[in-house]
Every structure is written in structure tokens, then in C-alpha cells.
Amino acid sequence: MSFEPKIVAFLCNWCAYAGADMAGTSRLKYPANVVPIKVMCSGRVDPEFIIDAFEKGADGVFIGGCHPGDCHYVNGNYRTRRRVKMMKKLLEEMGINPKRLRLEWVSATEGQKFARVIEEFVNEIKELGPSPWRK
């Protein structure tokens, strides 16, 4: 059986989640490996959530937020960008491929982009194989 990765996707309410909705209403297809979790802002995604997701068995973690300058709360997404950068460095030191964590900007109208990046991400994780971080 081929490996089907588990992916947790934190999507901000105002852009990325609406973008995912858009993908749905436009009947676009994307892999069903993603478990979306709606957060008010990508800035709500505490690094602890990322660690928690990996510890509980995620093979990849996706964070979707508004484009720079568009965050509903002005600068939440800038914080996310910094956190993700630091988290990637941490993952690397831990021996985890930092590609397992991905941040993308998806606006409410970008259903197409959402479907595309998710597909890309799922394929990438499939290539990487199961995460060694499961407890």
C-alpha cells in the first residue's frame, strides 16, 4: 500500500480558510490527506501547536495565512513568517526535514492556488515518507 501522509493545515479565517472554501465551491480537486483547522489568524499558530501536531503523528504541517500586508489583524502573518523560519531551524537541528513545515499565503479568492500548493505539499511529503517524530 502506498504511503498516505497525515497533514495538519492551520488556515486563517479571513484568507486561507476562505481560499480553501473557494477551492471547494469551485469543485477543484486536491488530496484528502489534509485535516484543516481554522484559526482566526495565522499568527494564532503558536509554535507549540506545530510541535504538538508532529508529536501526535502529523507527517507535515501546513500553515495558510493572508498575503503580506493583508492580515486582518495587521501584522499577525509577519509573526508567523518569523516563527516558521525559526521552527524550520529547530526541526533541522532535531533531525527532521524542515520541508515538513510549509507556510503559504492564500487569499480568499485563490482557491486554485490552495488546491495547487496542497497537492504539491502532499506529493513532497509522500516522497519524504512517514515522519520519524511520532510518539
Partner: protein, 312 residues
């Protein structure tokens, strides 16, 4: 009746044992209420003596140091049996401490550095410790460093490397009254001696290691020096800060925070000033050692099975 107390050292530096003496004359008051039945560092007891004690006959057993060898684990289990209350004393027993950073390496790498490559080590015959050779031997070196709660149930934790006087006084008093919950819930910033110099809004432009910058006496973070205060439990009184050294987080996280390193990383991201992505990249790259900086005392919690191996 006097309470029966035991203190054991696992893999640690001995600082925890000494810290108990750090409560000074309080210890003399304490000695009216307690009887020490086992404390290898200070008194002459043998493991046999401990084995002979009836189960649950010790009121409170303190275990300091981490679990690095078979022996450490064996005594942890024995103490667990003999004591009513088992306390993880200090950072090593509670969360692995600095020696937990060894979980980034395997046994072979560790032995190589410690017994062969270390510049101050003279070992021409390249002798390495052997496990159970002939009749005599050394206890097995475990593949990873574990904390006390990884091997037995723990009732209470006394944080700190080593636990500072105010933390200890409160903890000992509580424990002797049969309480297992004590200590502060807030972060170190709350009791920081430099608290008043913390600006309304911190905007870090670049990071300095603390020897790279002349300290102006203000909040370390405001100066761009990483200080773990915001993610570290209060209670120690900020002794390091009083000595002009930023907090490295030995008290562990406040009780409501699960992951100290992640919490600090998150805080740091919020404290950077406005800057473009390129500058952002540069400033973050200047933090060289993420685990050593943010998980200095909790690497064993982050990597209980050692460094992970992601294929490819």
C-alpha cells in the same frame, strides 16, 4: 514523630546536594523535624541499607540528577518502592537539564568526545568504560538520557539548576506538610530585578551574545540579548539577572506552559522590530544553536529517544 527523608544523586553534578545546604540555618530548624535515612553524598549509607528498609517507610525521597545509567534507574525504582512521596529535585531529575543535550548524540559519539578526543583527557591506551566485565563492572550506559518521570511516577518537582533558596524553602515546607503543589505560576519577568527598564514595546534590531555587548543595565531583551525570562517560571528571585547574566531558563516553563522553547521562540518572533524579509532572515540566522538556546534544560524532553532520523 520525625519525618524520614532520603536524598539520592543520579546523573548530576552534585550541585543539587550542595543546594540543600544553601538554605543555611533553615536546615538546622529543619533537622528538628526530619531524620535523614539515606543520603549517599553526605552520609555513609549503602544500597543494602536502603533495600532493607520496609516499603513506604521513607516519608519524602528526593531524587536529584537524571537517569543516565542502569544504576540511576535501579535506585529510582528502589526509592519509589521505599518512599511515600518521591520528588524530582532540580532540573536534571525534572527535565534533563544541560546533560540532556547529550541526547543530540549517540553513545559512541559521547564516549569518543569524553574519553578520547577531549583536549584535557589523557588516555593513550584508549581505554573505554566496559559494562560488566568479569566480576566487576560499571552499570550500563543507557542509550538516551531520561528524566525521573520517564522511569517512575513522580509526585512533585522542585525546579532549578540547582533549586535556589526561596524555591527550596517553600518546597520543603510544603512537602513536609504533605503538600505536593507549590511554587509560582508566573514568568520570571514578573520578579525580574530589571523589570522597570522593560520598555512598553520591545523592538529587537539584532541579537547579541551576552559577551558581545556592553550591558547598559536594562532589560536584556530590550538590548537584543536573548533572555529566557518570558518563558521561564518565576521563583528563583532572578539571581542570575542580579549578577548581570541573562536567564537561560533553568526553572523550566511556568506550570501552564507545556513547551518552554516553543513559547520563547514565539515570544522572540513578536519582539523583532519592523524589517524586511531579507533582514529578518539575517537576524534569525544569527541564532546559531536553537536547541542549546531555547531548550538548554529540556532537550531530553524534546528528544527523549535521541536525535530523530528523517530519511533522505
Amino acid at each position: 514523630m520525625k519525618k524520614k527523608i532520603a536524598m539520592y544523586w543520579g546523573a548530576g553534578c552534585g550541585g543539587c546536594d550542595v543546594s540543600l545546604l544553601g538554605i543555611h540555618e533553615k536546615l538546622l530548624d529543619l533537622l528538628d523535624d526530619i531524620e535523614i535515612v539515606f543520603w549517599p553524598c553526605a552520609t555513609d549509607f549503602k544500597y543494602e541499607d536502603l533495600e532493607k528498609m520496609p516499603d513506604k517507610s521513607i516519608d519524602v525521597a528526593f531524587y536529584n540528577g537524571a537517569i543516565r545509567t542502569e544504576e540511576n534507574e535501579e535506585i529510582a525504582k528502589l526509592l519509589r518502592k521505599k518512599a511515600k512521596v518521591l520528588v524530582a529535585y532540580g532540573s536534571c531529575a525534572s527535565e534533563g537539564c544541560v546533560i540532556g543535550l547529550a541526547n543530540l548524540y549517540d553513545k559512541k559519539q559521547i564516549f569518543n568526545v569524553v574519553y578520547l578526543q577531549n583536549e584535557t583527557t589523557k588516555n593513550e591506551d584508549k581505554v573505554l568504560p566496559k559494562e560488566h566485565a568479569n566480576d566487576l563492572g560499571l552499570p550500563k550506559f543507557l542509550p538516551h538520557l531520561k528524566t525521573l518521570e520517564d522511569v517512575v511516577k513522580v509526585h512533585a518537582y522542585i525546579p532549578g539548576c540547582p533549586p535556589m533558596k526561596p524555591v527550596l524553602e517553600e518546597a520543603l515546607e510544603a512537602l513536609l506538610q504533605g503538600k505536593t503543589k507549590f511554587g509560582k505560576e508566573v514568568a520570571l519577568c514578573d520578579e525580574c530585578p530589571r523589570k522597570d527598564s522593560k520598555p512598553e514595546k520591545i523592538e529587537i534590531e539584532r541579537f547579541y551574545r551576552w559577551h558581545e555587548k556592553e550591558d547598559n543595565g536594562d532589560c536584556f531583551l530590550a538590548q537584543g540579548i536573548i533572555c529566557m525570562g518570558p518563558a521561564t517560571r518565576a521563583g528563583c528571585g532572578g539571581e542570575c539577572i542580579s549578577a548581570n547574566i541573562p536567564c537561560t531558563g533553568c526553572m523550566g516553563p511556568p506550570p501552564k506552559v507545556k513547551d518552554q522553547g516553543a513559547a520563547m521562540l514565539s515570544a522572540i518572533a513578536s519582539l523583532l522590530g519592523d524589517m524586511d524579509e531579507e533582514k529578518e532572515e539575517e537576524i534569525m540566522d544569527s541564532i546559531r544553536d536553537m536547541i542549546g538556546t531555547f531548550y538548554k534544560y529540556r532537550a531530553a524532553k524534546l528528544l527523549p529517544e535521541g536525535r530523530l532520523k528523517d530519511e533522505s
